[in-house]
């Protein structure tokens, strides 16, 4: 199952590489990507799918969220921590 994550990120050197690298390294395929500039920021819609069933979308959301330069990430990805 794929999910689309909406992210607003600074237009800093390496920011795109940082984001895409993280998603791939954490075990997700990128099925689609849309990108639009918004002045100092970029708005990105990433459609991603876990490489195997052990990959948790929530966790990916938290990992993206802790990247510096990420301003906003769609809330439906990050759910509450308590299980």
């Amino acid at each position: 199952m794929s999910n689309t994550i909406h992210i607003q990120i600074d237009r800093a050197d390496g920011s795109l590489q940082r984001l895409i690298g993280l998603v791939e390294r954490r075990g997700f395929h990128i099925d689609g990507m849309a990108l639009a500039d918004e002045g100092a920021f970029r708005r990105i819609a990433l459609t991603v799918r876990g490489r195997d069933s052990g990959r948790c979308m929530d966790n990916l959301g938290r990992q993206i969220d802790r990247l510096f330069g990420v301003r906003r990430i769609s809330n439906d990805i990050i759910q509450s921590e308590a299980a």
Binding site: G14, L22, C56, N59, R62, F68, G69, R71, E81
Partner: protein
């Protein structure tokens, strides 16, 4: 959930024009940096030029990997941010292992690299490497500085990011034109507020889980010391009497010999610790990340336990094992809040469990009366840590000696044990000893290394000599890559492939060639005198300890097996 906000920059008062390189040095001074580890080269020459006359003490290492490892250990011991620098290209790539090491163990370091001028970037210029790209997966953050005016803010931001929240390495890449450029502008840095607040409902849920448990156990990770929560955790343990186990990186958080401390868990953990984990019905995980060396086969790890997980990094909670109760935020705040709640209620009724654990620890205690005349490394390491007392700090390399040190040394404080836990990087021990000793000149810092790892950064003996750093080195020489040899013996049908180091140089002569006092210990009856000599030496000193290559580390959980399946040596 906290959304990170990038630094907000604001212009500050005008100052006299300065070069980017000079601004770098003055910003480091302003931030209170005292020691910088580095190695010069073409693309960072303006910075080295600006160092002359500054308040910074620059330690010229002999390999950039040494600079990164030293900065890492300096940070672990001092609690400050470690700083290292290198030139572009090969200088920068030589830092990579050290950066990864700091990332894996959440150590705050700032690495400054020179780079070719911006006009040349992307042209495969001489010594050009996209070090920002190379290091992206192993840094907490990185910054490419585009103008001299941005230098102070970039450095301040790097320091802030390195030490805030879950600490980690930050790389600042400075193109050469930026170092030369002069500017009167200086963009101040305003610190973003991002510390997650501990959720008190979660604390209440943690309390309820603990009160409902019959066999609770504290699983202590390296995050406790990093988060300055050692005192808080000690108070929690004293208030509740819950037994504890520790990861490799958390050794010393609770003193090794404290009652209730069952020792290290995992692959080379103690029997008592691993059994307690497997038996427990509630694990209170504090600042640990369920590393596979600690958990063994994850699916069978602590099969009956509910999990209460404290971590500052939300992305660690539930990463490998889902938590029944998650407390995300500053560890100290969380643990203190929980302790207050535990104190205000009834005492826990877990005496039978605590007695069980203590009994298992006593029954499983290691014996040091090994047969033979040869040096028994566990006994030697135990003796040296006891002789050095509470000021003992071990900077360990990677291998069997590292596991023996973890299992048999006495650690009174969490900073007493400095090791490459997450990355397991051979070569760490010697430069780490240098960093730790510079951070705390009064401590008795002992590098514990194997013959293989010692050779990986042996050139740093020159650094010891030059600065007269009175580091003590215990070189445990088994003429082989011992830990690999042990695995080959146990899991590869004794096919000893490429682990023989029997043509090692004479390490005493090598040390003496660097101008360092050294002597050899190859019999058990020389150990006590040798330890006295080493500890009493005024300057740097190396004890070359020869042991039997067949000595193995026990107990051991075979790779991929559950922690319940410990192997014992004959």
């Amino acid at each position: 959930m906290i959304l990170m906000t990038a630094a907000a920059f604001k212009p500050s008062a005008e100052t006299a024009p300065q070069s980017g390189a000079r601004l770098l040095v003055s910003t480091l001074e302003r931030l209170g940096v005292e020691v910088v580890f580095g190695y010069p080269g073409g693309a960072i020459m303006p910075v080295y030029d600006a160092l002359a006359g500054s308040k910074l003490k620059h330690i010229l290492v002999r390999h950039e990997q040494g600079a990164a490892f030293s900065a890492d250990a300096y940070a672990r011991k001092s609690g400050k941010v470690g700083v290292c620098m290198a030139t572009s290209g090969p200088g920068a790539t030589n830092l990579v292992t050290g950066i990864a090491n700091a990332m894996m163990d959440s150590v705050p370091i700032v690495c400054i690299t020179g780079n070719v001028a911006q006009g040349l970037m992307g042209t495969d210029a001489f010594q050009e490497i996209d070090i920002l790209g190379v290091t992206l997966p192993i840094v907490k953050h990185s910054i490419l500085v585009r103008s001299a005016a941005e230098v102070p803010a970039a450095i301040e931001e790097a320091f802030h990011i390195a030490r805030s929240g879950r600490p980690g390495p930050v790389l600042v890449d400075l193109p050469k034109d930026v170092q030369f450029e002069t500017t009167a502008d200086d963009y101040g840095f305003s610190i973003p507020n991002e510390a997650p607040r501990v959720d008190h409902d979660a604390i209440a849920a943690a309390e309820a889980a603990i009160r409902a448990a019959k066999k609770p156990l504290v699983y202590i990770g390296g995050g406790v010391k990093i988060g300055g929560a050692t005192g808080a955790l000690r108070a929690f343990v004293a208030a509740t009497g819950i037994p504890q186990v520790s990861t490799l990186n958390a050794l010393g958080t609770i003193p090794t010999d404290a009652p209730g401390m069952l020792g290290m868990l995992g692959m080379h953990g103690t029997r008592a610790a691993n059994h307690a984990v497997q038996d427990s019905d509630l694990l209170i995980v504090v600042g640990a990340r369920f590393d596979d060396r600690a958990t063994g086969k994850l699916a069978e790890f602590a099969p009956n336990a509910r999990i209460v997980h404290f971590d500052i990094d939300a992305s660690e909670v539930g990463k490998l094992r889902s938590a029944n109760v998650a407390v995300v935020g500053e560890l100290r705040e969380g643990v203190e809040a929980l302790t207050a709640r535990m104190r205000s209620g009834a005492a826990l009724n877990i005496q039978a469990w605590a007695d069980d654990c203590a009994g298992a620890a006593k029954a499983g205690a290691h014996r040091y009366d090994a047969p033979g005349e040869g040096v028994y490394a566990p006994a030697l390491l135990k003796e040296i840590s006891e002789a050095a007392g509470d000021d003992f700090i071990a900077a360990c390399d990677v291998g069997q000696h590292q596991m023996w040190a973890a299992m048999h040394c006495r650690f009174a404080k969490p900073e007493a044990h400095i090791t490459s836990g997450g990355l397991g990087a051979m070569g760490f021990g010697l430069p780490a000893g240098i960093g730790a000793k510079l951070a705390d000149p009064s401590a008795t810092v002992v590098t514990i290394a194997g013959d293989g790892g010692f050779m990986m950064n042996i050139q740093e003996l020159a650094t010891l000599k030059r600065y007269g750093i009175p580091l003590k080195i215990v070189l445990i020489d088994n003429s082989s890559l011992g830990l690999v040899r042990q695995w080959q013996e146990l899991f590869f049908a004794e096919n000893y492939s490429e682990i023989d180091l029997s043509d090692n140089p004479d390490f005493v002569k090598v040390a003496e060639a660097f101008g360092i006092e050294a002597f050899r210990i190859d019999r058990r009856d020389q150990v006590s005198d040798g330890i006295q000599r080493l500890l009493a030496a005024d300057g740097p000193c190396l004890a070359h300890v020869v042991i039997d290559p067949r000595d193995n580390v026990w107990p051991l959980v075979p790779p991929g097996k559950s922690n319940a399946e410990m192997m014992e040596g004959s």
